[in-house]
Symmetry: D3
Subunit: 72 residues, 6 copies
């Protein structure tokens, strides 16, 4: 594989923001990625400085060591 | 929303395992979820005890505090 | 070891909720596990959707890569 | 509560190491805490520099944002 | 390397607190470390129990599995 | 603050790689940032795909929810 890779985090899922809830210190942001909703808790400051709003295209970025697997 | 929820982790993405690489202590597992590949690093012991193998249907489970957002 | 294992997270500690504090976006939940109190910060939405309340029996689930060790 | 607190991580569980498996980069360490086994993946370097060995008394330290809750 | 090591977390960066914002459940704490500002989200309870205030000397402690790398 | 912000992770520390140890699944990478050494465990695949090598300038990227504080 030789794709360009800016950050070591292996999971970078493109989607559209469907909802933002700003709390006092952190914010809850929901992103539609394909058929899934990805939910993220980031600082309120990042949400504001990035100017995140409903409809924005973003990537959800997740380090592979943070991903668990579950078998039904 | 009233869906049944077994675990507090808000991100539970169903997919199929496409590759497993076992290391001495940890394993690298790749899961196809829609058009995305999700990569996970779990302990080798969990991979073995769960009997994970290529083709298995699993859920990738991610706590929302572990999800960052990136704007292009 | 052949125990059934639903999720790759290796730490699953059974206990009883002793306190829940709901914030705007996240909640602080305390669980008694044996002689220890385990404290967890999850989203307020998960706390509400799971209907968590004082006295509930729950498992605290922790990925092994999140556990540090300290020597006195 | 006014107990002395060296680190902000709210979960500090005392126990005894029951097993250490050294890998090339990371190590898998198991600690008995009350009736539970806590499993930790730390760097091999930390395991070696701390001189961790079976029988040592250690604390498992976990940030509360890393603790999920599961209802059966 | 033989330096004394209390905790397995390999990153322990000394600095001075420049700002604390207390939220309902979590707090946002900024620490000057050399030329960088390190930002931390911890529980409000830890911030209060540790008596953290502007000007305090603290260490920012980070597990190495939580550090990503980015190439420009 | 109005600085451009590509990713929500608030900690982005520029430095130079001083050492890379490749394991079977993960790699241990050390980065000099000012007077500190930052250590990172990422997947071996990311280290290889990014072509990381000693002397490279990189940013250590850390989500603020992963930063603990310690008082001496």
């Amino acid at each position: 594989m030789n794709r360009y890779m800016a950050i070591s985090a292996r999971n970078q899922l493109s989607g559209k923001i469907t909802e933002i809830q700003l709390g006092d210190v952190v914010a809850h942001v929901t992103v539609r990625v394909g058929k899934n909703l990805i939910e993220s808790v980031i600082t309120r400051r990042s949400a504001e400085e990035m100017g995140l709003k409903k409809g924005d295209t973003v990537k959800a970025v997740i380090k592979s060591t943070e991903v668990m697997l579950q078998k039904d």
